[in-house]
């Protein structure tokens, strides 16, 4: 088996047990409603992450590393990453995308999240800058 297959029989067995479960779920999706949209989202998920998002933030990080010397890049990299991640994860709330559905179910509105995100971002960079000055001051 090893020469023909390229790994241990256990490797093959694990695939034969667990992959059919994935195939069953995929077939249920393809046989159900909005099959093509779900399939599109599944394929887009891996492409968008591996070929768009990751190269984009790696490229931005490399540019930041070129602009700042050594570990100083962390004072920009960390607040920027925190702010960006918050923006991406809570985009639906910050941009008010879920507002209509939320109002219909609860009668409440969500407002002011974009301002709050801007304030948090400003605070992150301010804190990072302050830390940089303090550490540089204590070193010299």
């Amino acid at each position: 088996v090893r020469r023909l297959y390229g790994s241990s029989p256990l490797h093959l067995l694990a695939h034969l047990v667990l992959l059919p479960l994935c195939v069953w779920a995929l077939l249920e999706i393809l046989g159900g409603r909005s099959a093509s949209r779900i399939a599109l989202w599944l394929v887009a998920a891996v492409i968008v992450h591996d070929l768009v998002v990751l190269p984009l933030y790696s490229g931005a990080d490399r540019a930041a590393q070129a602009a700042f010397r050594g570990a100083a890049v962390n004072y920009v990299r960390i607040p920027a990453a925190l702010a960006l991640l918050m923006l991406v994860v809570f985009w639906a709330t910050i941009a008010g995308k879920g507002e209509a559905a939320y109002r219909a179910t609860s009668g409440e509105t969500f407002e002011g999240y974009a301002t709050r995100w801007l304030l948090v971002t400003a605070a992150l960079f301010a804190g990072s800058g302050l830390l940089y000055l303090l550490r540089r001051g204590s070193r010299s």
């Binding site: 390229g6 694990a14 667990l18 992959l19 909005s34 891996v46």
Partner: protein
């Protein structure tokens, strides 16, 4: 066959932090988080009692067998399990991104598959990454009431979870020896003790797993990376529904007509609302017009 230039060449990947130990450590913490998210997710499916008449959103009979019927206590049962599902899931986002970043050189293997075994494993990894990003994207959008996907969230998130859980179990099973070897060779926590000045690339390994062959000087320590990923973690349409026997008979189950001595407000279900302990909120039907009693399905 030499690799084409660019990401297919090992020298392209220069981060000095990547290596089997880092991926194992990120993966171990992530696995802990994901286990909670997976269990609480499937518990929600059970809580909706999809076997009872009119309750199924995932087509009836096309789901995995339910192992028990949802209890009515403790009253906070649904709140706690689903609070964990959403919050642990959100907290896992930075870990997932860091874990995927740590293994990205493996996407660019040359040749793409050297054997049947590797081809099969890479197919299962494609399913794992795709379903992971899909589950997180749809879950995060749904939690914020953003229904822009154009498909039924419950159905897609359920089957997505089946693909994700099976592919994850397969991945953990196959990688267990690599993870254990990394911990044995490099220490469970030893690489976290090094500050930036003492951060060294992981030694090259004979399996060409992840260690960089041409590492750049480090700009952040491994513990710095972990602290960064951890710092991102926060602390903290249904018109009818069927109830199971325990839910109907529970002493705290009621048809509520008043709240705090006043008639129910219209928003809260006037003239009458079902209240059952530990029941998903949307199954506590508002504006009750009729009730039937009968046998399952």
């Amino acid at each position: 066959m030499t690799a084409p230039p660019g990401p297919f060449r090992p020298t392209f990947w220069r981060s000095p932090l990547r290596g089997p130990w880092l991926t194992s450590a990120l993966g171990s913490v992530l696995l802990l988080f994901l286990s909670i998210v997976i269990v609480t997710g499937f518990l929600s499916h059970v809580a909706y009692e999809p076997n009872l008449r009119g309750n199924a959103i995932v087509p009836a009979g096309a789901d995995l067998p339910l192992l028990f019927s949802w209890p009515t206590g403790p009253t906070y049962l649904y709140g706690v399990t689903q609070g964990l599902h959403v919050n642990v899931g959100l907290a896992a986002v930075p870990l997932l991104l860091a874990k995927l970043w740590s293994v990205i050189p493996r996407l660019w293997l040359w040749p793409p598959a050297a054997s049947l075994a590797q081809g099969l494993e890479r197919l299962s990894i494609a399913l794992l990454v795709s379903s992971a990003v899909f589950q997180f994207a749809t879950g995060i959008m749904n939690a914020q009431y953003w229904y822009a996907f154009g498909f039924n969230f419950v159905v897609a998130h359920y089957y997505g979870a089946v693909i994700f859980t099976a592919a994850l179990a397969l991945h953990v099973l196959l990688k267990a020896p690599v993870i254990l070897r990394a911990y044995r060779e490099r220490g469970w926590l030893r690489p976290l003790r090094a500050d930036l000045r003492h951060t060294r690339p992981e030694p090259p390994d004979e399996h060409g797993e992840l260690s960089p062959v041409a590492p750049a000087p480090p700009t952040i320590s491994r513990r710095g990376l972990f602290a960064f990923v951890r710092s991102l973690q926060p602390r903290g349409v249904l018109s009818k529904a069927s109830l199971n026997g325990d839910q109907v008979r529970d002493p705290d189950a009621m048809l509520a007509l008043k709240v705090n001595g006043a008639d129910l407000p219209l928003d809260h279900g006037f003239p009458a609302r079902i209240i059952v302990p530990a029941l998903p909120g949307v199954h506590n039907t508002k504006w009750v017009a009729s009730i039937d009693f009968g046998t399952v399905a």
